[in-house]
Symmetry: D3
Subunit: 208 residues, 6 copies
């Protein structure tokens, strides 16, 4: 048996010299446009492919009464190179995930609890709006403005999937009002009133 | 106001002559290697981007005591070109999704109810096995053999996401025993015993 | 000579049975996630690969004192499948291309005349802002909010390139205020004041 | 058994509504940037996945004493969307495949018979040249100028693989001299002498 | 002449600052989802682009009377980033490459000697089976179960090409029986009998 | 306010653990098939996204009376992973960019000044030729032979965009005559006369 096994091992080893399918992110190493460099394969375990972070509700005690708990490659290194990531949305009563985009990925959402009204706007400015109930799924094409809000009475929960391990998340309010973009420039590039800009900068900690 | 609006409309229309981000599958048309041709944009509504099919439990009264309910592009045409799809897994007590692969996509699973033991095998034949509880997520790289089974006492439910609108699903048992592959050939190419092959062909409706 | 030429023709014909590099968009046909179906190759001429539309200044007599003249695949069918498109920006004194994104492409801009201040914001809300002079180029990663404004005294002109034949263009103001998104919903999902929303809906022709 | 089979069939049918992995080229239909539209799946047979055209030697009775027999998607429709194609090279004694490029694909060659000297030139103008014997393989990165010639005494044969179903083939001599490019223009854009240009146009059937 | 050459060199050097087409795998460095990091270009020679490993027959004195000799990026570093790799199949009389998949690539096979029966099974469980003779080529879409066996009397040889430098190779028998997957779990997830599982674990060196 | 801001920061930080959209090339690090590894994000500034190198005319005092000034990733590191790059063409009266290809990208050119005749040749040897005036744009599919020449009386300027940060540039004359390819081999693989080959090797500094 042993000679046979040895020969089989030879057979296998020659064919397995390069295994790209196991490329867990080395989060301490550099990124590349295609993802992280791969962790040493001998150190990979099933734990790299498992993520428990979405089990717990996010903290919705905040201004938007909602939370986004990511399972992106930074939290879930086994996703590196797999073209996927996850997140959990918790929306308390009255909660909202404000208008945002994912520059790097499309999204599919499925409602696990409660009722969520979600919508996106296309480049043609057409609105796609739907009140989703438990079990409903909705797709959001990459890069388009969209939002979700709790349209029911109880806490709402959804799981979202993205078509990239690192979809990005640009919340419009934060992008405009939470940094040091000069107010005058924002007003020029959005036609918003100065009072409005100053107000939201105040809320979101922006300067300028 | 109207002249301004008209000028703005001109501004917009010139820039919106080609909108690829809205490419809902025309399921009556041909496929291409990149997906379906796009449905006429004027006929697209939010309903193309919403799918309710995962709301209902699949029927687990079968030999595997489990069901896979797909939300692929064929069921959910808004997914066309988005790099994503979904499915729902229902596993009754003792249920199993037998060893299978998705030739066209990687997968991420999240447990919604119960306990599921899941595992995949790499090209190096290394086993990655984990007992997952509610809220746990697990990733399965594209094309690798994997399975899920209910390792708890109650009905288990999971949602899975794929990195393609059309991931494919090749269940090993079905691929080998549910068609007309000659038994002798199967035995030659798997080293399984004739009795085993004949038995499973019998169960799964294969011939030859 | 003729036999030689015939043999050479044979040599060529056998090797040229499938030419994908010439795939001019058939704008009357359907789109696919990878672009338009290809026009009949026998009807392709150099005119399909040439576009004169950027030669003329866009009309800046409008609310933003600016114009975007596209050279996307819809205007320039030879771009189909080439991973590129162009546009021309004209900004009168005080003109601005308001905050917008290109969901489908990255962008590089080069200033041909005048001075343009341009900036983008990353998902981390970091601002990248620069006053560009003639000959300067600036890159904008895909999907991120950005804007351009004329920061000089005279008419400014730029040419922009995109990494897709169909980059899309979502102007934030238009996406929020130029359609029928209910005001209450916008306010909930942006924290903008009702007066502000109503005002901009009025300017941009939105309803609701 | 039948109810079980029926349930299993249900299980399968729901999951197999969209099968992109079988996308044989409909050669009568249009192309797209991603390949041909798919032939009706019910009409696909194993013959679409088999190609016998490389079995026979190409005719080397021509000016280059060589022949290229393609197995591209146009000849081998099962390759549609698979990222691969083949060709057979026959080089009689003294035969040569003149300098050429494959705009759409990288190439790997393996010598089956005889000896072939092959080489490519990089964008940095570095020459990579090797005399290959039976069993040797050589790789040529996409789009780079390369050639093969018979450097042995007997008929040489090679099989080449490409990283696209439709790699294209641009033979430099043919591109310059076998069409109606004006001689003056060629001379301006190549610095070749008029006598040289006229001579090769004569041989290759070009005009102008 | 020299000033002209110097100016030309200037012309070239400015345009050749970044050459991605030469990206030979640095096999001592990390992998990324797109391949290996590139070896120092100054150390690249033609030998990186040549591979002699397929010249020699693989050793078929084993349980399957066959051998697969790979020319993947691990053996042939010039393939890095080229979307291609090769392997050589040797099948003695009665030899078989058991059912397997390539998770990462499609495959095209060409028979060089003897007769080979090859087949693949689609996700729809349709069988595509063909007895191939010398010179015949067959394509196998990515990720689908397939096999090859010697259906002639003499030693058979084939060359196979893959659409990735690192296609992976998952032999079903090895994935199921050559590791430490618990027998009970295998039986649950394949419906194979315990005796069958134990037997093949014994042959292939599996435990559990 | 502070608690709210802190909670918002929590909200943001959890979602921003991995930001791939900012991946400026670390030009001191290795390349990969997908581009350079990313520079440390904390060291990225707007200057990485700005490039002034195309502002100045290239030096056309050379044999071709033209210059190509690149803005590829090697000069403009913010382009890393963005699928774009630029260059500036200057053509003095009588100037020409000789026949060349870009192995890695398609190209779009726009004339800024003067008149430029440009053309490309397809794999089918069809010529696409056009005299372009100021403001005209022309597209050149990836990998195909093309050229530009000044067809006006004054200095001509164009900006070109490429569909890759690193398109490569292979000038046919340089590839054939500016290195150490043996003359006999060139003659065999191009059918050019020895006198012609020797002459151009002399001009371009080739040996052999």
């Amino acid at each position: 048996m042993l000679p046979i096994l040895f020969l089989l091992f030879l057979l296998i080893s020659c064919t397995h010299a390069s295994i790209p399918e196991i490329c867990v992110a080395n989060l301490k190493g550099p990124q590349t446009p295609a993802g992280y460099t791969c962790k040493d394969t001998t150190k990979v375990t099933v734990e790299d492919y498992v993520f428990a972070g979405l089990a717990k509700a996010g903290n919705t005690t905040n201004i938007i009464k909602a939370a986004v708990t990511p399972g992106f490659v930074g939290q879930f290194p086994g996703l590196n190179g797999l073209g996927l990531s996850l997140a959990r949305l918790d929306l308390a009563h009255g909660g909202v995930i404000p208008f945002h985009t994912h520059p790097g990925a499309s999204e599919v959402l499925i409602v696990l609890r409660g009722a969520i009204t979600a919508g996106f706007v296309s480049s043609a400015n057409t609105v796609y709006l739907k009140r989703l109930r438990k079990g409903d799924a909705m797709a959001f094409p990459q890069g388009l403005l969209h939002f979700q809000l709790n349209s029911g009475k109880s806490h709402a929960i959804a799981v979202v999937s993205f078509s990239s391990p690192d979809p990005g998340l640009q919340i419009t309010d934060f992008a405009l009002f939470a940094n040091n973009l000069p107010s005058a420039l924002i007003e020029e590039a959005t036609f918003l009133d100065d009072a409005q800009v100053k107000k939201l900068k105040g809320v979101l900690g922006g300067t300028g």
